[in-house]
Amino acid sequence: MTVMDVQPRIRRSTVPAGPPAIITDLWAALTERGMSLVDVTWEQQRLHESRRWSVVDMLAAVDLDSLTPTDRMLVWNAGRAELTTKPGADRLERQANAECNRWRDTNPALASAMEACGTWSRYWNEEEAHHETVFNRLADLSGMEPIDDETFINFRQVFPDDDMLRTLVLLAISEITAAVNYGQCQHVVADPGLRRIFKQVAADEIQHRNYFIAFAKALVDSGEYHAKDAFAVAHLFLREDGELQGSARDKLEERGTHVNWWDQLETKEMDFRPEAIEKKEQLVCSALKKITGIEVHTREEVEDTWLDLLGS
C-alpha cells in the first residue's frame, strides 16, 4: 500500500459555519474547542476578505470641488494620524512574536493566542494602509499643505514596548478614539463620497477594536495577565486631563521617541471638534467589561476599580 492508496479523511472543521466573525472567546476556542492556528487564521483571512474595499474606487467617488475648508482639514488630520498605524502594527507583530516565544514552554495555549495576534497584525497593517493612503491622497488632491518626508518619517517612529496586555488595551482605546472621531466626521461632511470614506474607515476601526478586545480578553482568561493593567491604561486615557483629551490638553508631553496621533490633531481654527468624550468613555468602559468581566460605567468607577485591584 502506498501513500496514494490511503483514503483521505475529511476533517470536520472546528471553524464555525456561517459568515466570518472575530473569535471573541479565543482562549476557550484554543483550550476547550480545540481550534488550531490554521483554523484561527482561516477565520481571520475570510473576515479580512469579506471586508476589503478599494481606495482607488472610493476616491473616484469624491467631488473635490465641493469640499469645504472643514472637510479638507478633517481629511488632512486623519491622514497624518493614520501614518502612525504602521509602526504600531510592525511593533505588534514583533512583540507578539517575542511573547509567543516567551510562553512556548510554560503555556502553549497562550503562545498560540500570541501567535494568533501576531498573525492578525498583517491584516491590520494592510487595512490601515487603506486608511493612510485614502486620506493622504485626498488631502494632496484637494490642495492641503503637503506632508514633507521629515514629518512622514517622524510619524513612523516606533512606540516603546510595554506589557502585552497594556499594549492591547491601549490599541483598543486608540481604535475607539479613531472610530468615534470618524463617526463624528461622517455627520459633518456634505459630499456623499467623502461621507462614505469616513463611514467605511470608522467601521474598520470598530472591527480592529473588536480584535484587540478579543486578544486582550484571551490574555486575561489565561490567568497570566492581570486585569489591573487593563484598568491602568483605561485610567490613563479617562482621567482628568488624560490622553482622551488629546491635543486639547494644555500641556502635551515632549515624547521625543514616538508620536501619539491624538496629540497632533490641529483643530484650533475649526468650528468643529470631533471629540465626543462621553461616548468614548462609555465605549472604554464596555471594552473593560468584555476584557476583564468587571463592570464599570464612569471614569470615577474605572479609577476606583483600578485602585482596588492594585492594593497597596
Binding site: 516603546p160 514596548d161 510595554d162 497594556r166 493593567d229 491602568a232 491604561v233 485610567h235 490613563l236 482621567r239 482628568e240 486631563d241 488624560g242 500641556k251 508631553e253 479609577e303 483600578w306 485602585l307 492594585l310 492594593g311 497597596s312
Partner: protein, 97 residues
Amino acid sequence: MMKTDVQSYLREKFAEHAGLPEDQLFGDDVTLATVIARSPRMTNSIDLMEAFARTANALRKEYGARVRLPAMPLDTPTTTVLKVFQEEFDRQREAVA
C-alpha cells in the same frame, strides 16, 4: 506634627514602590522623568502612575483619606508632587471632618 507624619509616610511609601532610596527621589532637580529613568521598576508613565496609586492606597489604609491625583507632566519636580499629594490629602480630610 500631623503634616510631617504624612509627608514622611508619603516619601517612604513612594520610595518603596519606586524601588529607590528617598535621597534619589526627592532632590531639588528630580522630576518625574528622572524617576522613571532611575527606577528599576519603571519603564513608562503607567508604571509611575501605578506607584502613585499604590502610595495613595497605603495612605488610605493608614489615614483613611482617599487621595486622587491629577495627571502631571513628566517635567514636574517630585517635590511638587509631594505638595499636591499633601494638598489633596488635606482637602479630603476637611471634606470628611
